[in-house]
């Protein structure tokens, strides 16, 4: 988790940020299962978390590709400024 958090804050490249988010997420799921056992509610929480992480990562990757194709940027705030 610490590694994921550090990577998220440190790297500007969006793909690395997405990967860092996934590392962070995996850490939290493990912690959740470890802390709270394997009750049905915990499984539900983790399942929702996994689906959200998946959808978020796919959406992020698609967005990144589109941004790269449109004006070649791979970081936020780089390239042409979004708004004055």
């Amino acid at each position: 988790m610490t590694l994921g958090l550090w990577a998220f804050a440190h790297h500007l490249h969006l793909l690395r940020r997405l990967l860092a988010f996934n590392v962070l997420g995996s850490g939290i799921f493990l912690l959740l299962a470890g802390l709270a056992g394997t009750a049905r509610e915990v499984q539900g929480l983790i399942l929702v978390g996994l689906v959200v992480a998946l959808v978020g990562s796919v959406l992020g990757a698609v967005l990144l590709r589109r941004l790269h194709a449109l004006d070649g940027r791979v970081t936020l705030g780089d390239g042409p400024e979004a708004s004055p």
Partner: protein
């Protein structure tokens, strides 16, 4: 527009009926157990009122969107994605108001966040995509913080339902750390003062109906959950509540200042969202550690402010969108002369601003009056000063925008584009509703005085479930049934900059 109104109007009527069936000061509650899980819900006066507000703003935005479709800069294909996302947002918001356990709240919060990101991406321009990407990253990290907080709570107390947590959880170290994590995640999603970095760029490139929905409802849902959990888990921790109140004070001042300095009309409206959210945060110090009468005043003021702001801000975004659409300009200086050609849009902007400034008889006035009363009665003078300063700043930025639009001497000659039918009427109705809410505030405030929960009869339960489900289905269905729009001709004239190069970008990423 007709199919949309036909299917949309029954929703608020159903909620009104449910509210009338609520026992005085009571609530319906129940649970549901799909596949061994136990999920809980409750419908009290507050949840019912927020549901009603949500349905009205959704209906208004959807109606506005029908007219907005005729904007020549929008592609048919991009707009097709709007309706399913609207349905998802409607369902998520409805579930958030009535959910009573952390799992359901998590599910609805994520659905809301992802549909909101998807809606923001619809314009397909690079700046919209970059802003949407930032929003997505912040929202994802926010949801991880929330999940970690839930994990700690579940590990410490072994309960997920709010009622159970409220009875077993004590404010010890684990609860405090968990609440801090939950608060961090929710503050990030609600764009409260230091964590607001994503809000303004996201609005700058979003479509008008999407901005209206987002500013009016989406950020409020995170605040609602935060206040609910705070009251449940840490009702007596004064220091942290003061910290949150100070964040709110910072938001009021910073948002007002930035709105005053902003260049474009849309930025003014987005920064003012930040400032107005700050008033809501003042509820935390006034609710914690204060006497019962002060807490009751602050409680009522908060929800009235939330409702008034939701209506007024939706109206303001739409009026600003109308002004920008018709003049083809987005910067404040370029609005000169708008008063002659667009008196209705400008008047709507002004009426919405009445609520934001808190002039009588609007809902904003009543809410700020109650807040002022609460802060003076409890001796917390700081918040009274914040209220006064915030009102002055609001007046400053509103009049700055209005002055530019009313000046006609330096007005350039330019083509004004006719507004699509209905798009000027919807925001006017919303703005008038925000003002009128101040006059009939006794009715919602009466419903807010909560009480004990009771299990509901079959009929109200079935109605509630149907209306939540229907909201998810009818908006996409009605959107699919709409006739193809008659496009207005692309504008040619000095105000052409800003219309998008949208064609040929391929499919829109949806969630």
């Amino acid at each position: 527009m007709l199919p949309l109104l036909l299917v949309g109007v029954p929703l608020p009527l159903t909620t009104l009926w449910l509210l009338s069936r609520l026992p005085a000061g009571g609530a319906f509650a129940g649970s549901w157990a799909p596949g061994g899980l136990s999920l809980h819900w409750r419908l009290d006066g507050l949840a019912g009122l927020l549901l009603l507000l949500t349905q009205l703003v959704l209906l208004a935005s959807a109606t506005y969107a029908v007219g907005h479709r005729r904007d020549a800069a929008l592609t048919e294909r991009a707009f097709a994605g709007f309706w399913p996302l609207l349905g998802g947002l409607a369902a998520a918001l409805g579930v958030i108001w009535v959910a009573a356990d952390l799992l359901t709240l998590y599910l609805a919060l994520e659905l809301m966040g992802l549909t909101a990101v998807g809606m923001m991406l619809l314009p397909g321009k690079p700046e919209a995509l970059a802003a949407g990407m930032r929003y997505l990253l912040y929202a994802l990290v926010g949801s991880l913080a929330w999940l970690l907080g839930v994990a700690l709570l579940l590990g410490a107390w072994g309960a997920l339902s709010l009622a159970e947590l409220g009875s077993v959880a004590r404010p010890d170290a684990a609860t405090r750390i968990a609440m801090a994590l939950l608060a961090a995640g929710l503050l990030l999603k609600a764009a409260i003062f230091p964590l607001h970095g994503w809000l303004v760029p996201v609005h700058a490139s979003a479509w008008t109906p999407v901005s209206a929905l987002h500013g009016a409802l989406v950020v409020k849902a995170s605040f609602f959950i935060l206040l609910l959990l705070w009251r449940l888990l840490l009702p007596e921790v004064v220091v942290a509540a003061w910290g949150l109140g100070l964040l709110g004070a910072g938001a009021v001042l910073w948002g007002g200042l930035q709105a005053w300095r902003a260049d474009t009309l849309k930025q003014v409206v987005s920064w003012s969202t930040l400032g107005q959210l700050g008033y809501l945060m003042l509820a935390f110090p006034l609710l914690a550690g204060a006497s019962a009468s002060v807490a009751a005043l602050a409680w009522q003021a908060t929800w009235l402010q939330l409702a008034g702001h939701a209506l007024a801000k939706a109206a303001m975004f739409m009026a600003a969108g109308n002004l920008m659409f018709s003049t083809g300009a987005s910067r404040l200086e370029e609005l000169a002369g708008a008063s002659r050609r667009l008196p209705l849009a400008l008047m709507t902007f002004g009426i919405a601003a009445v609520t934001l400034m808190g002039l009588p008889p609007s809902a904003g006035f009543t809410a700020k009056w109650l807040l002022l009363q609460a802060s003076l009665t409890s001796g917390q003078w700081l918040w009274a000063a914040v209220l006064a300063l915030g009102t002055l700043l609001t007046a400053a930025y509103v009049f700055r925008a209005l002055r530019r639009s009313l000046s006609w001497r330096e007005a350039p000659r330019r083509e004004f584009q006719a507004l699509p039918r209905g798009t000027d009427l919807v925001p006017l109705l919303l703005a008038l509703a925000a003002v009128g809410l101040g006059l009939v505030a006794e009715w919602p405030l009466g419903l807010l005085r909560g009480g004990h929960a009771m299990s509901a009869a079959f009929f109200p339960v079935a109605t509630l479930a149907t209306s939540l489900l229907a909201a998810a289905i009818i908006f996409p269905a009605a959107g699919a049934c709409l006739p193809r729009p008659h496009r207005t001709q692309p504008r040619c004239g000095p105000g052409q900059a800003g219309s998008g190069g949208l064609d040929g970008l391929g499919a829109q990423p949806g969630s």
